[in-house]
Subunit: 342 residues, 2 copies
Amino acid sequence: MTKKISIVDIANTLNISKTTVSFILNGRAQEKRISEELVERVLKLVKEVGYKPNSLAKSLRTGKSNIIGLMVEDISNPFFASIARLIEDRAYEKGYRIIYCSTDNDTGKTQDLITMFRDRHVDGYIMAPPSNIDDDVRSLLKSGSPVVLFDRYLPEVETDYVVVDNQFSTYNATRHLIEQGYSKIAFITFSSQQSQMMDRVTGYKNAMKEAKLKTFIKEVDFNRNEELIIEPIHAYLKKNPTIDAVLFGTDHMGTCGLKVINQLGLKVPDDIAVVSFDDYDVFKLHSPPVTAIAQPIETIADNIITLLLKKLDNGNAQTMQKITLSTNLNIRNSSKQVVKAV
Amino acid sequence: MTKKISIVDIANTLNISKTTVSFILNGRAQEKRISEELVERVLKLVKEVGYKPNSLAKSLRTGKSNIIGLMVEDISNPFFASIARLIEDRAYEKGYRIIYCSTDNDTGKTQDLITMFRDRHVDGYIMAPPSNIDDDVRSLLKSGSPVVLFDRYLPEVETDYVVVDNQFSTYNATRHLIEQGYSKIAFITFSSQQSQMMDRVTGYKNAMKEAKLKTFIKEVDFNRNEELIIEPIHAYLKKNPTIDAVLFGTDHMGTCGLKVINQLGLKVPDDIAVVSFDDYDVFKLHSPPVTAIAQPIETIADNIITLLLKKLDNGNAQTMQKITLSTNLNIRNSSKQVVKAV
DNA sequence: ATGAAAGCGCTAACAC
DNA sequence: GTGTTAGCGCTTTCAT
């Protein structure tokens, strides 16, 4: 097999030193003024025997692994899966590989993960950080590793990040519902201290306050068991039958919410209007289609990887960039007041 | 930082040799009859200075990386994302990490990926193989690396794999449609030579043949641009207005298909009945809910990782296991003939 | 019971 | 222009 051939083997076969081979293989032949002819011979043999440099050894020596550590909340969530896919593609083009992990927003698990990534000498980190991870990120930064945050950021840590304008997004969505004539508007979301979630609540609150409306906020604890998310929403909606519209804080929340609304036999939008953060097939194909706050997934992924690759090239030298992108409110029939308020 | 400390540093500090430290760290103190007291001292210092072995160096020396290479068709597809998530969890518990890549069913890209994984000395491979990858998989096997295939297998290669009973699944789904009184039943799927797709077509064909019905098969080329999938379906359905039911070959196909049906303003199931392979929120939440062939995701993931871990433990010694799991046809309103045939 | 030393495959400073 | 050599940090055989 292509197994055991090392740089020494090919050097010996050609009766030259492995240094020369190494130089040639790393494109430094010109610089070292190695004869065209030797270069050819080496390249030919390399191809012939199918020699592949051992990247482990290379990494050990150079300290570079060409691996990027990607930490998302949950790879099975469509938002994160899509981002991961796009990042993977761009990184691949540039010769980087991705090791990913799902953090479940668990700080302890994330710390473990960071240790393991550091251990493996990953060259850079992309992370949707859980709360209370500030010190760990700082220490990463201090040791010279580039870190790009996304989806949320850590207000107390000076890093690059790519997020969307969460506060305006929910403010805007809430305004939309108000303009459509709804007044008992609930905001149902995950309980979380993360920046993006805080901002989303704030946007909702501001819009409601501005319109002098009473807020209805329901926070549900995150759980991987969907039943445990559906149940509290069910209870909440049942207990507050006057609610005439609901804004869901994430795609997952929105999906669970729709299930509840089905269970309760509520008509959308007549009984209850629906808007959700994130925009996926579930919302587009629903009857009626669900109004959704669409994040610019591709732009997000593009910015993340561009930022990281730049740092990787520049030896992490530059100043931090904080990128906030705007979302798009895709208005559909789930939030259009039918003319009945006449 | 926790950066530069190596085994030598801690050996020097304690005035002992690095060998001893290595033994202690690898739990061979007993075996080597190293004094309790020394062991304690070493462990204490290690903890104190936060020494972490360099896993790169370890891998170089031992040839083990504790990394598993996972190759899926597309990580942003919910089926693969869910599987990936479950595998990640189980592997993590056992101290293994996952490097993943999306193959896009592209043989060339997959070969690159394999080379890169092999390069990085991954300990094992999990793969949803594209076609024509037989030789590469064989060579992996020959070089002693455990490989577990899933979702599809390579008939010509003797490996472990975990798949579902695709042929029976579509046969059964088609039978269901026939029993409901549909007769112009189309099968819309990706054009592919992969085992799972071939089996799905066969199942459909067999059921139709058995019932003496004419088959309507539309194969669409895979493309990452959704528009290019939607368009041919649109054209096909428009050109064959007599079709009264359709079975979609994958979740992605089904989602695109529903979009087309919406565009065409067709009523489900009155104008057209719908059944899809794979069962996701999109189908459950659709109005009417869509009948779907549910794969046992957790069981699949569990079997895959159990198989691989066993091989990893046993030095890849055992015989191959071929596991075929059954699916579940979740019958919903999208395929229930409304009583009109009276 | 502990240590010296070889070596995994590679890079790069320094010779010649 | 090309070769010698010293590590990168670790494991493991063989001595003692």
